[in-house]
């Protein structure tokens, strides 16, 4: 099969805003996303994944979006950072990937 360049946006942020971020991603035209549970440490302290969090909503998720359009990828990364990262902790970055079926992304 032929392989094609595409972009991956990764967003690591608080679980509590996952639905809002998902909406933002869909509005940017991406066709899908993948969510993984995550914990970690950043400028705002340690978060854990499987301790009994009395306030469990605050643990992290990692959201990955593959998209064929570098523009859409940039827009998602920029928008997420602008809209959410003043008040919620989180980071975002981009990677280059190779995909098989360009029509799918």
């Amino acid at each position: 099969m032929d392989h094609h360049k595409a972009s991956k946006v990764v967003i690591i942020t608080e679980k509590i805003i996952v639905e809002k971020v998902a909406k933002l991603i869909e509005n940017a035209g991406a066709r899908g996303y993948t969510i993984t549970p995550a914990g970690g440490k950043g400028s705002r302290g340690v978060r854990s994944t499987n301790r009994a969090n009395v306030v469990d909503e605050f643990s992290n998720v990692k959201i990955e979006v593959i998209t064929g359009s570098k523009d859409a990828a940039n827009r998602i990364a920029d928008d997420v950072a602008e809209q959410f990262f003043d008040h919620y902790s989180g980071i975002t970055y981009l990677e280059e990937v190779e995909i098989l079926r360009p029509d799918k992304f």
């Binding site: 509590i16 302290g45 499987n50 301790r51 009994a52 969090n53 009395v54 306030v55 469990d56 909503e57 605050f58 003043d86 008040h87 919620y88």
Partner: protein, 335 residues
């Protein structure tokens, strides 16, 4: 003098209650660096069991209740919930070093209600054989929801003033719905409904009721561990949160106790009901309050309000508040 001695005697007996013991045990474990962890699934299950039990019991007993009697206590619950937030807004939120929105969010959390604290108080009343009306746990939302809404409203009024911009509308309806849909209130209300309408006596008596105490003990342990673990977050915020967390629960509880006592003399509200009203006022929301505030006042720093509530407010509300109100009730109403 004699009365005072008697009061302290009663107070001390309360401290040996297993609910408190497990709470303090949890703090001890965390303080000693124990690696014991209660899995999140078990924590969630404990919460579900308690709320379903409280709901079912309420529903089963409410069948015979005279709901007219509920009116005055419900009004008091509403008033107390709002009063706590207003007081917090004009004291804590104005203190030096306290960001206004953080103070408002904290007041909102302390105005809202903790189901776990309520459950602990119910067990302790049952141990003392102090009765209360079946509908008392149903007062929960009458205090919880108005407090959260008022806090969000005050925060938006503050933003509108400071940022000069147009005032963001607060969608009270959306917040009410959001609260009712939260896992705590929806389990409680489902339990009420099931208890009221269906034949759930056997599953209540054979499962939810007998296991109640046990799951509460595990919940208290978890909350104790959490309280200690989150203490470190308080280091990063103003000291006033510690002061507020230590005193506000008792002040709030005593205000509610006072108003409840008036209701006792006016409409015969039971002493146990007065205690539970005080406990609700003194507690601060641990399950659904934090995410609601986080979503509605995103600029407020969660370390401040969750720290103040989880690490200081809740232990004080349970370990000092509950015994205090019970001892008071024994002294005042001569149980």
């Amino acid at each position: 003098m004699d009365l005072l001695l008697d009061f302290f005697g009663r107070l001390i007996t309360q401290f040996q209650s297993p609910a408190l013991a497990f709470l303090i045990g949890g703090m001890l474990l965390a303080a000693c660096g124990s690696k014991l962890q209660i899995p999140d699934a078990i924590y969630k299950f404990c919460v579900f069991m308690l709320l379903m039990r409280i709901g079912l019991q309420g529903g089963l007993e409410i069948r015979q209740a005279d709901l007219g009697e509920m009116l005055l206590p419900a009004v008091i619950a509403f008033v107390v919930g709002c009063a706590i937030v207003l007081v917090g807004r004009f004291t804590l939120a104005r203190l030096p070093g306290v960001r206004t929105e953080d103070g408002i969010a904290t007041a909102g959390l302390f105005g809202a209600v903790s189901a776990s604290t309520l459950a602990a108080a119910m067990v302790m009343l049952e141990e003392q054989e102090v009765g209360f009306e079946a509908w008392v746990p149903a007062l929960y939302p009458f205090m919880d929801i108005p407090a959260l809404i008022l806090a969000i409203l005050l925060a938006n009024m503050y933003f509108a003033r400071t940022e000069g911009g147009k005032r963001a509308r607060v969608h009270a309806g959306a917040i009410i719905l959001d609260s009712l849909r939260g896992s705590a209130l929806s389990a409680l209300l489902l339990g009420l409904l099931l208890g009221l309408l269906t034949n759930t006596e056997r599953v209540f008596e054979g499962f939810y009721d007998p296991l109640f105490r046990g799951f509460l003990s595990i919940l208290m342990l978890t909350m104790g561990m959490e309280a200690w673990t989150r203490l470190s977050e308080l280091r990063r915020v103003a000291h006033w949160y510690v002061v507020y967390g230590a005193f506000a629960p008792l002040v709030h509880g005593l205000i509610a106790f006072g108003l409840g006592t008036i209701a006792h003399y006016m409409t015969g509200f039971s002493p146990g009901g007065v205690v539970l009203l005080a406990v609700m006022a003194g507690s601060s929301s641990d399950i659904s309050g934090p995410p609601t505030l986080r979503a509605a006042i995103p600029s407020a720093n969660p370390s401040s309000y969750i720290g103040a509530s989880t690490s200081i407010g809740t232990p004080v509300a349970i370990a000092i508040g509950i015994p205090l109100y019970i001892a008071l009730a024994e002294a005042v109403f001569g149980l």
